[in-house]
């Protein structure tokens, strides 16, 4: 197993700073869903990780901890995360992306 980044959407949606999306070295990996967290009363959405593209470098953790100071991202074993975003489940919309979260481990 290996580590990938996992974003706590409640912490992220509380501020929605969008910093980590600009610093991940991999393209199309940290996505931004403006609808995420709206069901919980958050206004501007949350970042989420397309785990099949994440190389596990933890730069986003550094950005969220040290630049954004939100501590919303943790590196976790990919099989421990539960439902995740995969490239094939992501759709792009005007100023937003959405993902159908699914566990790659359950068929």
């Amino acid at each position: 197993m290996y580590l990938v980044a996992n974003i706590d959407q409640e912490i992220c949606a509380a501020t929605s700073c969008r910093l980590c999306t600009q610093y991940c070295p991999e393209a199309n990996t940290i996505q931004y869903g403006t609808e995420l967290g709206k069901d919980k009363g958050f206004k501007y959405g949350s970042a989420y990780v397309s785990v099949d593209r994440c190389k596990g470098c933890a730069q986003c953790v550094w950005v969220c901890d040290n630049m954004a100071k939100h501590k919303a991202i943790k590196m976790e074993m990919i099989d421990q995360i539960g439902d995740q975003a995969l490239t094939e489940n992501i759709s792009y919309h005007e100023k937003n992306t959405t993902a159908v979260l699914a566990s790659p481990w359950k068929s």
């Binding site: 999306t21 600009q22 610093y23 931004y32 933890a58 730069q59 550094w62 490239t87 792009y92 100023k95």
Partner: protein, 296 residues
């Protein structure tokens, strides 16, 4: 090289892979996408084999987002780590022999001008410090002296990363590397000074831990190269493998190096300022109104 090639042949769209459909339908082509919008549009760079956490990867990613017209751009590169990612994007990539990238780009940009006239077609060279300052040194300098109109971007990781850690002219004096065990014997080459002497219209240094600045310098460099003359960007893009930087400290290292010896610098010629302000609406380069002198 136009928006015409970024669309499906009628009837074939549904057979294309999802990533390709996303790129055609939600990519940056024909739109003005910016670094602050990332995460909401499909970037044109795809997966590639560069190392996890490599700052050069981050820089290349930002560079593709910053291109003013990706559909009208050709990238030119050479051997070295960067080509592993530059080649995996939906922008044509010309791969020269090691070091001849600025020679290839000279011919290419002249040819494009003959073929397309005033319609802007941008040529952007992105190559490593070894490829540019050592092996490709004469091609690089001569293209500047000849005033070839294209952008040269050095991915300066201060080492030959792709071949396991030899020193380059851009390595700092005294630096010990796997294949420079006694430490480098001479100073880092002043490519910025040489770019100015050789007549580049725009010369800038950046580090990738300031994404919007990377975006801004690349946009300016490409727009200036369209009509004014050669432009040069030197980017610190650390090699976390050869310099043994833990991947979660790569951005801290960028910050430290920026503060220490890679501060942001920008040189822009008067002609380039005028070009940006009159053609592309850069207000900061409008001539300053002469203050009225009131005599008492």
């Amino acid at each position: 090289m136009s928006l015409d090639y970024v669309k499906f042949t009628p009837g074939f769209g549904k057979f294309m892979p999802k990533e390709y459909r996303d790129m055609v339908e939600h990519g940056p082509f024909g739109k003005k996408t910016t670094v602050s919008q990332v995460g909401t549009f499909k970037e044109i760079m795809e997966e590639h084999p560069m190392c996890a956490g490599c700052a050069m990867t981050l820089f290349i990613r930002l560079a593709f987002i910053a291109l003013p017209n990706p559909e009208d751009t050709i990238m030119v590169g050479t051997a070295g780590c960067g080509r592993l990612a530059i080649s995996q994007a939906a922008v044509p990539f010309v791969y020269g022999n090691y070091g001849d990238q600025n020679g290839v780009a000279s011919g290419l940009s002249r040819g494009l001008r003959l073929r397309f006239g005033d319609q802007p077609k941008d040529v952007v060279v992105m190559a490593g410090d070894g490829g540019m300052a050592d092996i490709g040194f004469s091609c690089t300098l001569h293209s500047w002296f000849r005033q070839e109109k294209f952008t040269t971007i050095m991915l300066d990781n201060e080492v030959y990363g792709n071949t396991g850690g030899q020193e380059s002219g851009m390595t700092n004096k005294g630096q010990v590397l796997k294949m420079a065990p006694l430490g480098k014997k001479f100073e880092k080459m002043d490519m910025l000074g040489m770019a100015k002497v050789a007549g580049c219209a725009y010369v800038a240094t950046v580090v990738p831990n300031n994404p919007r600045r990377v975006e801004s310098v690349i946009k300016k460099a490409v727009l200036i190269a369209r009509e004014v003359g050669p432009t040069y960007i030197q980017a610190y893009t650390s090699c976390n493998i050869e310099y043994a930087i833990p991947t979660d400290q790569v951005l801290q290292d960028c910050k430290d190096v920026e503060n220490d010896r890679y501060q942001f610098t920008e040189y822009i010629s008067d002609e380039a300022k005028e070009h940006l302000s009159t053609l592309y609406g850069y207000k900061e380069y409008l001539p300053k109104p002469v203050a009225a002198v009131t005599k008492g």
